[in-house]
């Protein structure tokens, strides 16, 4: 669907050269939700704009289906943009237009006749759940509603691809979830490929199929979201994943020390499991069969695009042999076991 080959983007200014994107090779498949995650300045924003030709690569090619963007002239690129929707962190709606008129904007640009424009815009407003607000102005809407208008507008010309530039970064957690659900629904029902950039790993975890982690213009890690979450390799990825799991290292350390003081013989273990995979009461089983006591320190569950993912931090109490047996037994379940600390 989208193929980036040998992409480099360098900005030349009086202050010197700045390499925003370096040696990016990537294929995004039709119908998937692909996420770029990285801190600000990592080059993800530039990369997103290379896909719809708002930025042109210094080297390399961008291919959309069978068209090479670099071979198109300005007019053809504009034409191509009709089938690429884009949504923004700050929504970028025209304050001078009503909701309906905002959604009709891209249809006007694509020279769709007026009756069809109105019909299409009304349908989309219904799809994003804003029926009844057609004649409201953006200033009268909440952030979440504005982003829904942004999404409806981006979908107006039945795009093949939807680009999302930090679309939920200006929204509160509740609204973020609603918008993410809407994006997921659009991906599912309209089969629109979604490419999003974000600095929140949570967004990637919730809706993406695949993710690329960017740092200083380079893709440092890439793969299916679940794999990246379970086995983050690059330090940057590890930081993102850890942040998302909300096991604040400092807090855990403090808790570990406290527990180690209370139960000097304890083993502290982190268990990571995928929702549907564990159908047995494994904690009870392990406790019963090996004789260890299991003390739960912290637990959380996180939803991903495919299945929920659980994290559990527990303390194993018992003799050294019992604990060893418990660890061995735990490893036979479809869960990831990581020993965080032990007193011995």
């Amino acid at each position: 669907m989208i193929t980036l080959k040998g992409i480099n983007k360098t900005y030349e200014s009086k202050a010197g050269r700045f390499e925003a994107v370096k040696e990016v090779n990537l294929t995004i498949n039709k119908g998937e939700i692909f996420g770029f995650v990285g801190y600000s300045g990592a080059g993800k924003s530039t990369l997103l704009r290379l896909i719809n030709g708002l930025e042109l690569p210094s080297a390399g090619t961008v291919q959309l289906e069978d068209k090479l963007l670099s071979e198109l002239n300005k007019k053809a690129i504009r034409q191509e943009r009709h089938s690429i929707g884009m949504i923004f962190q700050h929504f970028n709606l025209l304050w001078s237009r009503t909701v309906l008129e905002n959604v009709m904007f891209p249809l006007e640009i694509a020279k769709v006749e007026k009756a069809k424009r109105i019909k299409k815009a009304e349908d989309l407003i219904q799809l994003v759940g804003l029926s009844g607000k057609e004649n409201a102005y953006p200033a009268q809407l909440s952030g979440g509603e504005k982003q829904r208008v942004g999404i409806a507008r981006a979908l107006a010309n039945d795009p093949k691809v939807l680009l999302s530039d930090e679309a939920t970064s200006a929204l509160d957690p509740q609204t973020t979830d609603e918008v993410l659900e809407l994006l997921e629904k659009i991906n599912r029902e309209l089969n629109v490929t979604i490419v999003l950039i974000t600095h929140e790993m949570e967004v990637v975890r919730k809706i993406c199929n695949r993710v690329a982690v960017m740092d200083s213009g380079i893709i440092v890690e890439e793969g299916p979201v679940l794999d990246v979450f379970k086995h983050p390799k690059n330090p940057v990825t590890q930081r993102f994943v850890k942040q998302d799991r909300e096991i604040d290292k400092k807090e855990t350390q403090t808790a570990l020390k406290e527990l180690q003081r209370l139960y000097p013989e304890g083993n502290i273990v982190q268990l990571l499991f995928e929702g549907g995979n564990v159908n047995v009461p494994f904690i009870t089983q392990v406790s019963r069969e090996t004789g260890v006591d299991v003390n739960i320190i912290q637990g959380s569950i996180q939803s991903t695009h495919e299945i929920p993912m659980g994290t559990l931090v527990v303390q194993l109490l018992g003799t050294k042999d019992e604990r060893q047996a418990a660890l061995t037994l735990l490893a036979t379940y479809p869960i990831e076991v990581e020993v965080l600390g032990h007193a011995d």
Binding site: F88, P106, I109, A139
Partner: protein, 234 residues
Amino acid sequence: MLTNSIQTGNIFLDYLDFESIAWDRVWVATRETLYMASISVIAVFFLGILLGLLLYETRNSSSIFAVILYKVVAFLVNVFRSIPFIILIVLLIPFTKAIVGSMTGPTAGLPALILSAAPFYGRLVETGLREVDKGVIEAAEAMGSTKWEIIKKVYIPESLPSIVAGITVTAISLVGYTAMAGVIGAGGLGNLAYLEGFQRSRPNVTLVATVIILLIVFIIQFIGDTWVTKIDKR
């Protein structure tokens, strides 16, 4: 003492002696003022928007042509809005004669009025355009809009309150300028106040001319304010 108070009374009576005013001449002068003001406002409106767009578009462009164009336009704008209006009229007399064919009458006032106000308004328009959200422009570009579509559908509607507020201010100064133009022969209320009121020492005529000009200014301000409130949905 007594004479003094009688004189003071007379002065007031001079001002308030409305019966001796030739109202038909006042009416003609009012129409001339309205004619000069409205034609110049319309011309300045379109010219100013063009100038504003030109200034805005060439301001940050990197092409050498645009840079030169910007410098030239910006220089002319600064020159024209810096020349005191009364001097500009005199300066433009040969030019006015050449294009209007006469140097008196309301139409002869137009070139100077337009040339002095258009650059000023152009600057106001440019400022308004610069306030348009860059993100919205990017959104329009991402949809595949052409430059012209972005001007027509984004820049103008999104900066309309500034454009309207700007033309209100400009229109009010133009009414003031018509009075000055009147003094050197363009007709209108300024001309009436100068010839009838000042040179024939009839303060009642001056007062009437002043009141009418004030009314025109108030009406323009009211229309402008109402219009801005109505279109500003931010």
